[in-house]
């Protein structure tokens, strides 16, 4: 079953934090051009899944393939250079540095300053509010703006695949809408997206299909339509 359309594939991945068995036998696939969502309650292992893909955590067993290449034992920065970018939980922007500096660091591996400028202009076009404040300390930004900066910073690498960990966390409903609109826009521009969300209803509106995690295991998978309509699933696993 080789499918050239597959951009990311996890096969029987296991991850531990010391003795804590955080991920058990995780297998999932993301096709090029899709938005796929990973759902689950607090502590289910969603962030750990993303951290294992981007190699911040090590898989102790299993295999992770990105664009046909085995990345299971690669270093985080090598994976970034292949076009897989992880926007972590809590944004993790560089507070104390300006917005412009944050974005520049996003394009750290790029040596071409003209291209850097072009990408930054593109980010500023998507997030005009960042442009207005580009020389300000990023610590001064509101939660929503910080999320925009984190996503903009990731866009500076021109990713093929973007891992987004709860981009809507702590945001007012109108901002959640704004962020979701931008996710759709990035996807239309050709970026494949793996979206981790607590807000299942919102995520299932964007995604083509989804996985539900429970205590480190995938318990349900299916297309978004099915997941959305199955009220029992929504009630049992999506915390509503």
């Amino acid at each position: 079953m080789t499918n050239s359309n597959i951009i990311l594939e996890l096969q029987n991945v296991e991850t531990y934090y010391g003795k804590i068995h955080a991920l058990r036998n995780i297998s999932c696939t993301v096709n090029k051009g899709e938005i796929v969502t990973l759902l689950g309650a607090n502590g289910a292992g969603k962030s750990t899944t993303l951290r294992t893909i981007s190699a911040l955590n090590r898989a102790t067993a299993g295999k992770i393939t990105f664009m046909g290449e085995d990345i299971t034992s690669k270093q985080p920065h090598e994976i970034v250079n292949m076009g897989l970018i992880h926007v972590p939980e809590g944004r993790r922007i560089f507070k104390g540095m300006t917005i412009e500096e944050n974005l520049e660091l996003g394009s750290f591996t790029l040596r071409d300053d003209v291209e850097r400028k072009r990408r930054m202009d593109h980010v500023f076009e998507i997030f005009p509010v960042l442009h207005e404040r580009r020389s300000r300390d990023s610590a001064m930004l509101s939660g929503g703006e910080q999320q925009m900066l984190a996503m903009g910073r990731a866009m500076m690498t021109k990713p093929e695949l973007l891992l987004l960990d709860e981009p809507s966390m702590g945001l007012a409903p109108f901002l959640v809408k704004e962020i979701m609109r931008i996710i759709v826009r990035l996807n239309k521009e050709g970026v494949t997206i793996l979206l981790v969300e607590q807000n299942a209803r919102v995520a299932l509106q964007l995604a083509s299909h989804g996985y539900v995690l429970e205590t480190g295991k995938i318990v349900i998978k299916g297309d978004a339509e099915t997941l959305r309509q199955d009220e029992s699933i929504v009630k049992a696993y999506l915390g509503e």
Binding site: S54, Q75, P76, R92, F94, L105, F108, R153, T157
Partner: protein, 304 residues
């Protein structure tokens, strides 16, 4: 001597000592900022830098004499060599300890410090080494105040190196990556930054600045001793804490401030120069009680 003369003379003395402190404090603070290690071996790199500069100067003096050209050459070569030594120490001694409890790496740093100072002690038989130069004793004579060209050149070289460092850290992508690692290492990895490489670069820069200061100290004092790294290490630590440990402008400011405070401290009635060290370490204690984050330091809460 009039009061103005005393002030001017102490200002000059303070600036010279302050530049040494600042240059050593920079390495201290950069390493702390990036891996939260108090590198006790840092003062010893200053000492090793002095000796390496001395060796190189002796080797090339037949060609270039002991002129400024020769001294600048020895300083640059010593900076490269000690910079590499710093990188090797980081790679061999510190990197394996990064995941161990904090105390282990601190003890490792103490061990490295002892290896370096005892190593040089063995090689030099614990003797003072004369650091001869033929720079002469000319200078600017303002009547009662005298500043030699050597002193002037030392302050200028130190300033040039610090300006270069400042520009590097604030204007180049590698410099920005260094600051970013001090803020959030994982986030840096997710930007495609090879964190280990940047840490090595930080050790290189910090160690080479210490080496430059070591060579300058050799020129200034005219002699070298294996134990010279110990006190300057403590002073540089004090300077770094005064400025706010982890802050690069803080280390520069803290170093200069400490140099000036010591210079003027010796003028306070009943506090002669023999009380200089008591004065600076008293200051350290006072500061740790009153404002532990230093002048330009951030609060710990913000860092987390």
């Amino acid at each position: 001597m009039s009061t103005t003369d005393i002030i001017l003379q102490q200002l000059a003395n303070g600036l010279i000592m302050g530049s040494f402190y600042a240059m050593v404090a920079l390495g201290y603070t950069m390493v702390y900022g990036i891996i939260k290690l108090l590198n006790f071996a840092h003062g010893d790199l200053y000492m090793v830098g002095g000796f390496v500069g001395f060796l190189i100067l002796s080797a090339i003096s037949s060609l270039l004499g002991e002129s400024w050209t020769a001294i600048v050459c020895s300083m640059v070569l010593s900076m490269l060599a000690v910079g590499m030594l710093g990188v090797i120490i980081q790679r061999v001694a510190y990197r394996p300890m990064l995941t161990a409890p904090r105390l282990s790496i601190l003890i490792t740093a103490l061990a490295v410090s002892m290896i370096l100072s005892n190593g040089v002690m063995t090689i030099t038989d614990g003797e003072y080494m004369a650091f001869n130069t033929d720079l002469g004793f000319d200078g600017l004579d303002f009547g009662n105040v005298f500043i030699s060209y050597t002193q002037l050149a030392l302050v200028i070289s130190a300033s040039v190196l610090m300006v270069i460092l400042y520009l590097f850290v604030n204007k180049t992508l590698y410099g920005k990556a260094m600051r970013a690692i001090a803020i959030d290492q994982d986030a840096c990895k997710l930007m495609g930054i090879n964190v280990n490489k940047i840490i090595a670069l930080t050790f290189f820069i910090g160690s080479s600045l210490a080496a430059a200061a070591g060579v300058m100290a050799g020129v200034y004092y005219g002699s070298l001793h294996f134990s010279m790294g110990f006190v300057i290490g403590l002073k540089a630590f004090t300077a770094a804490v005064i400025g706010g440990i982890g802050s690069i402008p803080g280390a520069m400011l803290g170093g200069l401030l400490l140099g000036l405070l010591e210079a003027f401290g010796t003028q306070i009635p009943f506090i002669g120069s023999e009380w200089k060290d008591v004065f600076s370490f008293g200051l350290l204690i006072l500061l740790l009680i009153l404002k532990p984050t230093g002048i330009l330091g951030k609060t710990e809460i913000e860092r987390m």
